[in-house]
């Protein structure tokens, strides 16, 4: 116990240490190349304070964050609701797989960002295309992970269920789906980071609100502290999303152990 606490403390000190080194290097680098190319940490903090207390493009920073989050979460839920059942169907029913897989395989390798023009062509501007882009990104991951999980379900398990006289339906709901949960959950995390990346891409290409817009503003105004504050905000939200998902996962599936 004492050892573990000591190791934990050591790790924390290490983390602090590495950040201190990082900040120091940042400061030195910014002095070396000039604050134009790389603003110092202090500049960034000052800018952050200003940005979070004033309005950008007629909205506060919190509103921008809200807009981005709304898009991501909406698209993500939609993707989960549609992608997981599709993956299950593809993994379970051979006929369905043969029909759906080729089309899925045709569209799957197209990166979500490449869908942007088509999304605008079909859905115009506004929330539609942005949600659509995030949806495409998360959907593919949900389907892939669910499908992989289903396909690699241990056949022994299903055979065991069959010998107990389980119906096809019971085999699916009591054996195959629970057995593919780990793979599905791996997708849960990946799909979120993909959706988060996609919302940025969508906002970078055209939006009036959202955190991606902040970065584009920073670039258009040639204001590098603003860009960096935007990036840090994005990173923090990404982290927040990942952590809350992990927490949710622990809550829902306490049996899953994680590799440290």
């Amino acid at each position: 116990m004492a050892n573990a606490a000591a190791a934990n403390l050591k790790e924390k000190i290490g983390a602090v240490f590495s950040f201190v080194i990082f900040l120091a290097l940042w400061q030195v680098a910014s002095m070396a190349v000039g604050s134009e190319a790389l603003p110092s940490p202090a500049d960034v903090v000052a800018k952050a304070q200003e940005m979070y207390t004033s309005q950008i493009g007629g909205k506060s920073m919190w509103m921008h964050i809200y807009y981005s989050l709304r898009r991501v979460v909406g698209a993500y839920l939609l993707a989960a609701v549609t992608g997981i059942p599709l993956g299950i169907a593809m993994g379970w029913n051979v006929k369905f797989r043969k029909i759906a897989n080729p089309i899925f395989e045709l569209l799957r390798p197209i990166p979500p960002i490449a869908w942007i023009p088509i999304a605008i062509l079909w859905l115009g501007i506004g929330e539609g295309p942005k949600i659509f882009i995030c949806y495409v990104g998360a959907f593919v991951i949900f389907v892939m992970n669910t499908y992989t999980g289903m396909r690699y379900t241990d056949h022994l398990l299903i055979d065991a269920a069959r010998t107990f006289g389980a119906t096809r339906r019971q085999q699916l709901f009591n054996v195959a789906i629970p057995a593919s949960l780990p793979s599905i959950f791996a997708g849960v995390q990946n799909a979120m980071s993909m959706a988060w990346m996609c919302v940025l891409a969508a906002e970078l290409v055209g939006a009036r609100e959202g955190v991606g817009f902040i970065i584009i503003q920073g670039m258009d105004l040639n204001n590098s502290p603003m860009i960096i504050v935007g990036m840090i905000t994005i990173g923090l939200i990404g982290l927040f999303l990942a952590v809350s998902l992990r927490y949710l996962e622990k809550l829902l599936c306490p049996w899953r152990r994680e590799l440290q």
């Binding site: 029909i99 390798p109 088509i118 990346m197 940025l200 990036m231 982290l239």
Partner: protein, 273 residues
């Protein structure tokens, strides 16, 4: 005599073809139906031809694009070559840096304690958010674009190498230790080889990430490449060019991961992993 021989040889071949056909007929059928519906939706005017181009036209444009440069300024091959170069440069750089870093993080505690916090801090920032800084720091040449792709490909490389080496069978580590191997030697002779399968999984994810980010990277100062082609399609309001660009990205990406999978299975089978 010879005819009997020939038919005996042919029989398995035809049955193999039949087998393939049986395996894939419904897939081929479903693709054809998909294309047919797509064609009809466009032809019958359910969707305006400015929003979606029928597949027949897409194919024509795609074939044309193999040797004609207008309207986007380069042939399809030029675009593919440019994009692939870019993606592979970023990908290779990510592998060269990311895999050793992940391995060292998994093996040496101090490396992990120092690097992990920074890595965790940078990781949630999507690569495309770096575009403005990439321009600022690296300009508008291939460096900035490769940097964006590098960032995208770097993360799975590190994570998978890290997990791979963490999963090294402890018994094997002890085997090396008992023979008096140093920590470094154990790392090289036991840790690294045992992480190889995970590293390969990471490489596939990496390549995928690299290719996904490509379009975003090519939004940034490019005069050729598939992302640029799509961009030109937008400026010229040419949905056919956009769709050809999208499909080409899809095909090329799928082809590249197929090649990597082949390489992997070749290496794996030579080592019987």
């Amino acid at each position: 005599m010879s005819t009997a021989h020939a038919s005996a040889l042919e029989a398995p071949a035809t049955s193999r073809v039949k087998g393939y056909w049986k395996e894939y007929n419904s897939s081929v059928f479903s693709l054809l139906v998909f294309l047919l519906i797509w064609e009809l939706v466009c032809r019958l005017g359910f969707i305006s031809r400015f929003q979606l181009v029928p597949p027949s036209e897409v194919i024509v444009v795609m074939i044309e694009k193999f040797w004609t440069a207008p309207p986007d300024g380069a042939t399809l091959f030029t675009h593919i070559a440019a994009s692939m170069t870019l993606a592979l440069v970023g990908f290779c750089a990510a592998v060269v840096v990311g895999v050793p870093l992940g391995l060292l993080m998994g093996w040496y505690k101090p490396v992990m304690v120092l690097v992990r916090p920074l890595f965790d801090a940078v990781r949630p920032i999507p690569p495309i958010a770096w575009i403005p800084l990439a321009i600022l720091w690296l300009g508008i040449g291939i460096e900035a674009k490769a940097f964006i792709i590098w960032l995208a490909a770097f993360v799975p490389c590190v994570i998978n190498s890290y997990i791979g080496i963490k999963l090294t069978n402890p018994v094997l580590i002890r085997v090396a230790r008992i023979y008096g191997a140093s920590n470094w030697e154990t790392f090289i002779k036991i840790g690294v080889p045992s992480a190889v399968p995970m590293i390969f999984t990471g490489l596939k994810l990496s390549l995928n990430a690299a290719w996904t980010t490509l379009v975003a990277a090519e939004l940034l100062a490019a005069s050729e490449g598939l992302g640029y082609m799509i961009q030109m399609g937008r400026r010229l309001a040419r949905p056919d060019i956009i769709i050809v660009g999208m499909l080409t990205i899809g095909f090329t990406g799928a082809l590249m991961s197929y090649v990597l999978t082949k390489i992997e299975s070749r290496i794996a089978s030579s080592r019987r992993l």
